[in-house]
């Protein structure tokens, strides 16, 4: 409704551009409408933003002091599923108690981890009729839109709020939205909402250079914050709800040397028994498309694959000489890749020692 009102005022103002006084009116009125809209957006999502009392866990990870106060979580379903950032869950705390805006308290249990997007799914024990959220559709999220970050760290009864814009989409290889709203331990796990109070994503520390849980924490006051988009995350939520941990998916392929953004994704090596090896790819093959989206560089390949989880099956098109082939490849975890690599090395060593 606010948006509609805002548009009318804007339209009126343009109609009366010759009047300097009208321009003044427009500026103030829009400013106030904007303030009102932000306030209403916070009010709309606030009931679903819970405070998480973290009992136990770590004080310090990788030489970084963690926050010691309460964390924030976001209610995803009326029957008690809550998502939060893994920031305080590596290692997992002894216990987590959720406090709702209305004062209700629930013990909670960890259901599963999304290691790729650094989220964790909790279940509030015995919870029913919890407030619902609305998820912003993927195509509504544009750079420059308002981004309102909401947490519940300082107080259980009131949210904490910071405001900025969407700075970028598809960051961290397609796994995060970027914002200049202040994102810090005071709101990790809370929602980033649009001007209508619809959830765009879950705030979490992120870094393009490391998959570590706390990577990106040091950016909290730099104007760089991230949120994991919830649009399109529904199937992951279903899997987590069934107790399945999710990890980033890997192809098990070595690519030709060169600068990733300039070099073609030509296969240099395949990990024996790894995903692409099982699908029949060989050194010298040129990967040209993932799920029918054309790719030209090694960077394109990383962007296309990284958002997928281990266990996901993706369609890989590649060229071998003049021929084009399309195969299904089931991605695997980094741990399994390492196991396979170690097994291959061992086999090679044994083979060479038998020679």
């Amino acid at each position: 409704m606010i948006n509609v009102a805002g548009k009318h005022v804007l339209w009126l103002a343009f109609m009366w551009v010759p009047s300097v006084a009208w321009i003044g009116v427009r500026a103030q009125t829009l400013e106030q409408l904007q303030q009102q809209a932000i306030r209403e957006a916070v009010d709309r999502v606030s009931p679903a933003v819970v405070q998480l009392q973290i009992i136990g866990g770590a004080d310090r990870v990788e030489n970084v002091d963690l926050a010691s106060g309460p964390a924030t979580g976001l209610i995803l379903s009326g029957d008690g599923y809550v998502v939060t950032s893994r920031y305080r869950f590596d290692p997992a705390p002894a216990s987590v108690v959720a406090i709702l805006a209305d004062g209700r308290q629930f013990a909670s249990a960890i259901v599963a981890h999304d290691y790729s997007r650094k989220l964790v799914l909790l279940k509030l024990e015995g919870a029913t009729d919890l407030p619902a959220i609305e998820i912003a559709p993927d195509d509504s999220i544009r750079v420059g839109n308002w981004a309102i970050a909401v947490g519940r760290t300082y107080r259980a009864d009131r949210p904490n709020v910071s405001v900025g814009v969407v700075s970028a989409t598809d960051r961290i290889f397609g796994r995060a939205l970027q914002t200049d709203a202040a994102v810090s331990p005071a709101n990790y796990g809370g929602p980033m909402v649009d001007i209508q109070g619809r959830v765009m994503g879950v705030l979490s520390p992120m870094s393009p250079s490391s998959e570590s849980t706390i990577a990106g924490v040091d950016w909290y006051d730099s104007g760089i914050g991230f949120a994991v988009p919830l649009a399109g995350w529904q199937s992951a939520f279903e899997r987590l709800r069934n107790g399945k941990d999710l990890e980033r998916g890997y192809l098990g392929v070595g690519l030709a040397d060169g600068v990733p953004r300039e070099t073609t994704p030509t296969v240099k090596s395949v990990l024996p028994a790894g995903p692409v090896a099982q699908a029949g790819l060989e050194p010298g093959d040129l990967i040209v498309a993932i799920n029918e989206n054309a790719i030209a560089t090694q960077n394109d390949l990383k962007f296309a694959v990284t958002p997928h989880y281990a266990g996901d099956t993706i369609q890989v098109a590649y060229e071998r000489g003049e021929e084009r082939h399309t195969v299904d490849v089931t991605l695997t975890t980094v741990a399994k890749l390492q196991e396979a690599a170690e097994a291959a090395t061992k086999q090679q060593t044994e083979a060479s020692s038998n020679d």
Binding site: Q35, Y154, V161
Partner: protein, 349 residues
């Protein structure tokens, strides 16, 4: 600006902000554009230059005018650790300012400008506001001393993040204040910003930017302002003299002065410059024990003399006769406590 304007400007602003929720358009018509607000705030913002410079402690900070007579409110800090400071006004004037006093409860200080008959524009200490989360704010301060020479202070935009108790991590800065502060999302936790002001979009004061501290809860540096009504209380305590005046070294000393032993207190050893006068122990069966003094009480005034350091307490006692009751003001946790002790004169009992 003449006195009429000084009085009218805050009044218009108060009326305007009161009307804002009901009739937004009128606010624009009374002319509170950003340029107006900026000018209004800049005229009331000052840059303070004083002591510091050692051990990478900055020698500058921010402040705001709070009276037509030239009282400047700011945060107590090492910058004020000398008898006078230099204050830069927005109109290029550079005036000497005397440190009137410090409120140990809030860590607020007042500096009085040496302006003879000058009348200064100022922020109304009586202004009341009702800030809420997501409320848009502007902050005016000289962070990092980027405003050099006659340049105006920097303006930052943000929103109110939360109204919450100050739970600062200990050891970062000695702040005893634990009541509510306004946490904001603008980057005002930076060197030189303390003492600056946070205003609403109509230019009216919301709070004073506090010292650099880390949040105990989030571990992150905290951007916050002390609520304006608390600032007003602190300024009032300082100006009214409740916290004592500075020690006048020219006064005659009494024949026999009160001593620590005659009161039955021991302070924390005076080992560093400006050791704060914390009580270390209270002797049994002493006047201090009778008056229920406690270890960790901070002695902030003896009689009418303000005591910011261990040395100040020694000097104040030297000027206090031993045969009269001694009034001592203590800071205990978040409270000010006044006690009266009758010194025990050695050999009298």
């Amino acid at each position: 600006m003449n006195r009429l304007q000084i009085v009218v400007a805050p009044t218009v602003a108060i009326v305007a902000s009161a009307l804002a929720p009901i009739c937004g358009a009128q606010v624009a018509l009374v002319g509170r554009s950003f340029a107006d607000v900026n000018q209004y705030a800049q005229q009331r913002s000052v840059k303070i230059y004083g002591a510091g410079g050692l051990r990478q402690l900055e020698a500058y900070q921010s402040g705001v005018l709070v009276s037509a007579d030239g009282h400047v409110a700011t945060m107590a800090s090492v910058v004020l650790d000398q008898d006078w400071v230099i204050v830069h006004l927005s109109d290029s004037r550079r005036l000497r300012g005397e440190v009137v006093g410090v409120d140990p409860l809030l860590d607020i200080a007042v500096v009085k400008l040496d302006g003879e008959d000058a009348e200064f524009p100022y922020y109304d200490l009586q202004h009341q506001s009702m800030p809420y989360e997501s409320m848009q704010l502007l902050a005016f301060c000289n962070l990092y001393n980027v405003a050099t020479g006659d340049e105006p202070v920097s303006v930052l935009h943000g929103v109110l993040t939360a109204v919450a108790p100050l739970e600062a991590r200990r050891g970062s800065f000695s702040t005893r204040y634990r009541d509510e502060v306004y946490i904001v999302d603008a980057s005002i936790n930076n060197p030189g910003a303390a003492g600056g002001i946070v205003v609403d979009l109509s230019g009216q004061p919301i709070g004073m930017i506090g010292k650099e501290v880390r949040s105990q809860l989030s571990g992150a540096w905290l951007n916050y302002a002390l609520p304006w009504d608390r600032v007003a209380e602190g300024v009032d305590r300082i100006i009214s003299g409740r916290l004592g005046a500075s020690i006048d070294s020219t006064t005659d000393l009494p024949e026999r002065s009160a001593t620590f032993a005659s009161l039955g207190i021991r302070l924390v050893p005076n080992v560093v410059p400006r050791t704060p006068p914390y009580i270390d122990s209270v002797l049994p069966d002493s006047p201090a024990e009778t008056a229920m003094l406690e270890p960790d009480d901070l002695v902030i005034a003896v009689g009418d003399m303000r005591t910011g350091t261990h040395n100040d307490v020694e000097q104040a006692l030297l000027r206090t006769p031993i045969d009269e009751p001694v009034r001592i003001t203590l800071l205990r946790g978040n409270r000010l406590v006044d006690v009266e002790l009758m010194p025990i004169v050695e050999g009298s009992q």
